[in-house]
Amino acid sequence: MRRWRIPAGVWIGGAFLALLAFPLVQRSQYYQHVMVMTMMAAVLASSWNILGGYTGYTSLGHAAFFGLGGYLVALAHNYLGWHPFISTWFLAIVVMAVALLLGWIALRTHGSAFVVVTIAMVFIFRIVALNLGDITNGARGLTQPRPGWGGVQWSPEIIKIPFHYIVLALLCLTVLVSWRIRLSKFGLGLVAIREDEGKAEAVGIDTMVYKVLAFGISAYFVAVAGGIYSYFFTYIDPQFIFNIFTSVTMVLIALLGGRGTLWGPVLGAFIMEPLGDWLVGTFGGTQIHLAVFGAILLGVMLFMPQGILPSLSEIRIRLTRRRGPGLSSG
């Protein structure tokens, strides 16, 4: 007897419709805010996963691209009047170009050294943003006008809704690209690099080009999210947006859900982000939430290094195996 299973398409479609209807059903500003941040975390983790999950290169530097996207969008808005909802998609291409260049340097290192180099990237960007005071306004940060469209500001009751839909669109695009990459020859090459870079090179994969491209693509969506983020909060400063903690969050979410899987980072975000929000809400003002966050990361690394989704499918395989012989003998 085979158990009837709900096809994946139904799950995905249902989740999409639920997210589409969310701000219309849930009118609380607080929950709308948490949902925007959760979907944004899912974008960041999924995008990080294209490099960190598929090729296995752990980058803690993606906060640099998040911040750069945020700054470019804020500057273009303030000086040129470009609307962030449109400009962020184009300015992220600039960030991607920067990422390709930095990736070309950083990806000469492997393993732990790569992690260290990417950490340094975040600090370099922060120091530059702090010191180019004439452009970035230094430590005082940049303020943007209150969000609106065509000269009309959105009223406070509905202000989260446009952000909800643009982040949802970005999330769909990110997952779609991640899925297409996973199925493509390019994606196979990336996974081959993760499994054995030497052998991948030997069978004719130009590993450097593959890695650098993956680095650039995974920086793109992070940069788009950074642009939307800077408009969502209408204020950014270097300490806040070039924050190594942003990178660590991406990694933790991807690891928790399942590194290298398509839906793991999304699942991880829908667990971690509300949890993180609750932690800050409960212990806010103290630094204890930092300790709790670190302890969770430590726990995941030590006891569930594969993440939720791979662990679940392992359990399912074990269960069906156990059931199989039992049926045939009885």
Binding site: A106, G111, S112
Partner: protein
């Protein structure tokens, strides 16, 4: 940009060397740990700050001199490091990949706990001689930095003697050269790893005690310190102790010079620029060998 006078230049050079000595002590433990275990201990900065806070506590509660407090903080952090290696780091599967994230998680957890216990107020330990200065041939030598340099030198010499003259030291060097060969000739590699981690953390304790009287600090300073000493060991060649000492002096001097020639605000970037340049031009660092990656 300002071009400094010869006097200012030499003064800066002296300060750079004094600072570099303390950096060398801080980096020595990190590079030793990497050499033996191939683990980059990202929590090293957090252990430095922990050492600094213990010194601060001893100083404010009992008035113990920060240099004397080494006698207490060094054994204490040795024990903590030993336990962490023995009961936590050995549990990691696939350590070469995962150890950075695990030690990063440790660093965040420690930062959160220290921030909770000691709050976010910036602290510094100020013994009576904190603001005294020795004038030598027209050059000013702050006593705390001089004492810090001297203490760092003593600890480094002790570390050197330990590595060269004792059985443990020989076992550590053997493990750095070839882990499997060391095991074959009867070295208990697991015990060596635990001892090395303990020793590495103990040098961080010593570095932290010196830091506490030269710099002001709070829990979140740990990110600043770990990125400095990481740059040092990358420049020196990861796992190479002489390389780390040389790189610490070079970066100490470069940092002070940048502060004088450009501005104080740009000086931290020196570390990161050097880090990038090293990796592009000479990935094995000044005195290291190419780190072999497991295929």
């Amino acid at each position: 940009m300002t071009i400094p006078s010869t006097h200012l230049f030499i003064q800066t050079l002296i300060l750079g060397v004094l600072v570099g000595g303390v950096y060398a002590l801080m980096a020595s433990g990190l590079t030793l740990i990497f050499g033996v275990m191939r683990v980059i201990n990202v929590a090293h900065g957090a252990f430095l700050i922990l050492g600094a806070y213990f010194t601060y506590w001893l100083f404010t509660l009992t008035g113990l001199d920060p240099l004397l407090s080494l006698v207490i903080t060094v054994p204490l952090l040795f024990a903590i490091g030993w336990v962490v290696q023995r009961y936590l780091l050995t549990r990691i599967q696939n350590p070469e990949q995962a150890s950075v994230l695990v030690t990063f998680a440790m660093a965040i957890t420690m930062e959160g706990l220290m921030g909770t216990v000691w709050k976010t107020t910036v602290r510094t330990v100020r013994p009576e001689y904190a603001s005294s200065v020795i004038e030598l041939a027209n050059y000013r030598l702050p006593v705390t930095r001089l004492a810090g340099f001297a203490a760092a030198l003593v600890v480094l010499i002790l570390l050197y003697i330990m590595l060269q003259r004792t059985n443990l030291g020989r076992a550590i060097r053997a493990t750095i050269q070839d882990r499997n060969a060391a095991r074959l000739v009867g070295v208990n590699v697991e015990m060596v790893a635990a001892h090395t981690f303990g020793i590495g953390i103990a040098t961080a304790a010593a570095g932290g005690s010196l830091l506490s009287m030269i710099y002001s600090f709070n829990a979140s300073s740990q990110t600043d310190w770990i990125s400095r000493i990481l740059s040092i060991i990358v420049l020196g060649g990861m796992g190479s102790l002489p390389g780390a000492l040389l790189a610490a002096l070079v970066l100490g001097v470069m940092e002070q010079l940048t502060a004088i020639v450009i501005t104080l605000y740009w000086s931290p970037i020196v570390f990161y620029i050097f880090l990038f340049l090293t990796l592009i031009i000479r990935p094995q660092g000044l005195m290291g060998e190419v780190v072999r990656e497991k295929a």
